[in-house]
Symmetry: C2
Subunit: 416 residues, 2 copies
C-alpha cells in the first residue's frame, strides 16, 4: 500500500491557491466559510472525491462526505470515517485542515491502488467552520453532525457582516440535504498537524494522540480605586493593576506546580485590559481572560480553584473586589483504545517512528467522540508554527503520516 | 482687609458658564485654549481686571496680566505677581485654575477696599494652556513667559485638528504684543486647589506648599515569545505578561519602601498594553508607562534605578528582553523660603489653620521658579476629586484661602 506523495502534495497545493495571501515568509491563505475561495475549495474537493469514485453527500450545514464502498464489502456495515476541515483562520497556513482532509482521500486511493478492500465502507469528510473564524464558534460543523448543536441554531448564526450561515452556504451552493451521521460510524480518525514541537523535538514521524485537552475559559475582574498618580500616597492606594499583577504571577505559579507532574497542564493569561489606562492615574480596574487546559478534568478544576484562592487572598490583603466567571468549559476527550492501538500498530507496520502525546488544541475529533470511537494522529510541524503562513510540514512527513492513516483505517475497517 | 466671598463666588460661577457641560454629579466645564468658551472667559477676565482699574497686558502666547499700581507705590519697583490659569481639561471642574486667577483679583480688590497700599505693583495673571489639553504640553504659557520655551516654537504647536496655537489665539483676538516677564517680578504666589485629601484629612483651611514634586516618565518594554496557549508547555514559555507582572510588583514594592521614609515618593504603572492580547496566545510583549514622583531628585533617580534592577533580574531569570526609556523628567521645585514664610505668617495673622505640604502635581509655579521667588497655596478639595465635574471646594474655603493669599501678597509687596 503506497502513498503517492506527489498526488497528495498536488492536492494540498491546489487547495492552497484558494484564498492565497501574500506573505514575506511561508505560504498563507484565508479561507472563510461561504467565501468564493471556500466554494472553489469545496468544488475541487468534491471533484477529487468523485475522481476516486466516491459517492458525495452534503449535509444541512455544508459538511461534505465522500463514501467509498470497497468491492466485496458489506455496504450496510458501519463505515470508518476519516478527514478534517478545509477552512482556515485569516492568514493561516496551508496544512491546518487540508492535510487531514486530502490525506483521508489519499488513504482511500492508496487502498484502491493496492487492491486493499476493507470489510467496511470508508467516509472521507470535510467539516464546515472548524476554525470559527467567520461565525465565532470553533468545530461548528462537527458539533452539529455529532448532535451537540441544533441545525437551525447553527444556520441562524450571523457573521460580522450580518449574514447568516444559511445565506453563506446557499450563496456557494453547499447547503445540502444529505445525512452525515457520526453515530452511524464504526470509528473516526483524523490526521492533523501538531501545531507544536514535541514531534520534531523527539525526531518522530507521527504522533498518536491519547487525549484531547480540555479547555476552560474564565474572565477575571479586579476592581480597586482609580486615583491621581501624584496626590495619592502609596499607603492610600487600591491599585487594581498591582493586585492583578500578583494574580498573573499566582496563575503562572499554580500551573508550573501542577505541570511539574503532568506537562499537559497549562494556564495562560493572554488577554487583559486596564481602566482607565492613563499614565497618571492609578488603575481602577483590570480584566483578564484566562485559558486553562489539561487532559484531566480534575486538574482543570484544581487550576480554577487556585485562581479563586489567589483572588480571595487579594481581597483580604489589598482590599480589591474580585470576580471570576468560568464561562466556558470544553471537557477533556480521551481517544478510544482501539483507535490508539490501531494507530500504534499501523505506525509499527510501516516503520514509522510514532510517539504518544496529547492534543493541546481542540479538533473536530473532540465532538465526534460523543458519537463514535475516535482517534487522532499528528504530523510534525516545523518550529511548531501555527495559524500563520510560517506553518509548515515537510512533504515527506505529510506522506508518511498519510501512510500511517491509511494503515490505521485499513485495520479499523477490516471488518469484524 | 476683607475678602468678599460673594464677589469671588460670582466671578468663579460666571466663569464656570463658559464651556459648561452636563454632569450627573457636580459642575463641569470644557475650556480648551482658543475655543469660543476660552474667548468669552478671557474677555470677562479682562473686563473684571479693568473694573478694578488694573492695566491689562496680553503677551505673544496669550498670557493675560492686569497690573495694579497702588497709590503712592514706586511704579518702577519689581511687582509681586499672583494668579493661575483659566483653561480646563475636557470635563474638568470649575475651580482648577479659576480659583487662583479670580482669588488673585479678589486679593487686589480686598486691598483696594481696605485702603491697603503696598510699596510694589501687583500683577494678576492668567496663563495660557496650563492643562495641555489642546496642544499636548502642560504649563505651556508660563514656560514661555519664564523663558523655558521659545515663543515661535510654542505658536507653531499644532492641535489634533491641525490648527496652530498662533491661529487659535488670532481667532479669539488674544495674541498680544505686550511683555509679561516673570524675571522682572519680585515674587510670584499661586493659589490652587489641592487635588488631594491631605487638607480635609487634617481639617486645615489652607496648605502652604514647600516643594512641587518632580515627575519622571518612563516607557518600559518587556519582550518574550508569543506562543500557542495550548501547545506550549509551561517550561517552554517566555511569557512577557508574567514577567511584566513581576515588574509591576517590583515597582510598587520599591515605591512603598522609599515612601516609608518620605510620603511624597510615589510610583505608578498606570498604562499598559499586551501584544497580541489574545486569550489563547502566550503574550509576546508588554509595554508600560511609568509615572514616578518625588520632591527630591535623588529619590526619583533611585526609583528609576530600582526599575532598572528589576528588569535586569527579569532578563536573567526569565530570558525576556527589556528596555526602559526615561523620556521626560520635570525636576522637583522647592518654594522660596521668603514666600513660604510670608504665607505662614499670613495664615497665622488671619487665624487660618495652615499645614505645610508638597504639591504632588506640577503647576505654572514650577516654571516661574526659574525666573523669580515663588510660593504656592492650596485650598481644600472635597474628597480630593480633580479633573472631574465632582471637583469641589466650599465657597467659604475659597474665601479663606483668598484671604491668606491677599495677606501673603500684602507682606511680599510691602516694599523693602
Amino acid at each position: 500500500m503506497e502513498i503517492s506523495q506527489g498526488r497528495l502534495r498536488a492536492d494540498i497545493e491546489a487547495n492552497a491557491a484558494f484564498g492565497a495571501v501574500d506573505a514575506d515568509e511561508g505560504r498563507g491563505r484565508t479561507l472563510l466559510t461561504g467565501s468564493d475561495a471556500d466554494r472553489r475549495a469545496r468544488e475541487r474537493f468534491v471533484d477529487r472525491l468523485r475522481d476516486a469514485d466516491l459517492d458525495v453527500r452534503v449535509d444541512a450545514v455544508g459538511n461534505v462526505a465522500g463514501r467509498w464502498t470497497p468491492p466485496g464489502c458489506d455496504p450496510g456495515a458501519a463505515p470508518v470515517a476519516i478527514g478534517s476541515h478545509l477552512d482556515s483562520v485569516p492568514r493561516g497556513g496551508i496544512f491546518d485542515g487540508p492535510l487531514g482532509t486530502y490525506a483521508g482521500l489519499e488513504a482511500v486511493r492508496a487502498m484502491q491502488d493496492a487492491d486493499v478492500a476493507p470489510g467496511r465502507p470508508v467516509d472521507v469528510v470535510a467539516f464546515t467552520e472548524e476554525e470559527g473564524a467567520r461565525f465565532g464558534i470553533g468545530t461548528l460543523g462537527s458539533s452539529v453532525a455529532a448532535g451537540g448543536r441544533d441545525v437551525a441554531d447553527a444556520l441562524d448564526l450571523v457573521d460580522d457582516e450580518g449574514v447568516t450561515l444559511r445565506e453563506r452556504l446557499d450563496a456557494i451552493g453547499f447547503r445540502g440535504d444529505d445525512g452525515i451521521d457520526p453515530a452511524s460510524w464504526s470509528a473516526w480518525v483524523e490526521l492533523h498537524i501538531e501545531q507544536g514541537t514535541r514531534l520534531t523535538d523527539a525526531g518522530a514521524d507521527v504522533g498518536v494522540v491519547e487525549a484531547i485537552t480540555g479547555i476552560t475559559n474564565c474572565e477575571v475582574a479586579v476592581a480597586g480605586e482609580a486615583d491621581h498618580a501624584g496626590s495619592t500616597p502609596m499607603y492610600e492606594r487600591t491599585d487594581a493593576l498591582a493586585a492583578g499583577a500578583e494574580f498573573v504571577r499566582d496563575v503562572e505559579r499554580a500551573a508550573e506546580e501542577v505541570a511539574a507532574d503532568r506537562e499537559s497542564a497549562v494556564a495562560t493569561v493572554g488577554q487583559g485590559t486596564i481602566e482607565p489606562n492613563a499614565r497618571n492615574i492609578v488603575p481602577g480596574e483590570v480584566r483578564f481572560q484566562l485559558d486553562l487546559r489539561d487532559t484531566d478534568a480534575g486538574t482543570m478544576d484544581r487550576l480554577v480553584e487556585r485562581c479563586r484562592t489567589s483572588l480571595a487572598r487579594l481581597e483580604r490583603t489589598r482590599g480589591v473586589e474580585t470576580d471570576i466567571d468560568r464561562y466556558r468549559t470544553s471537557p477533556p476527550t480521551p481517544m478510544a483504545d482501539r483507535c490508539v492501538g490501531a494507530a500504534d500498530d499501523a505506525a509499527a507496520a510501516r516503520g514509522a517512528d510514532a510517539v504518544r502525546l496529547h492534543s493541546a488544541a481542540v479538533h473536530d475529533t473532540a465532538n465526534l467522540a460523543d458519537a463514535t470511537d475516535v482517534g487522532l494522529l499528528f504530523a510534525p510541524s516545523v518550529d511548531g508554527a501555527s495559524h500563520s503562513p510560517r506553518e509548515w510540514t515537510d512533504w515527506e512527513d505529510c506522506a508518511t503520516a498519510a501512510g500511517v492513516l491509511a494503515a490505521t483505517v485499513r485495520r479499523l475497517a477490516a471488518g469484524d
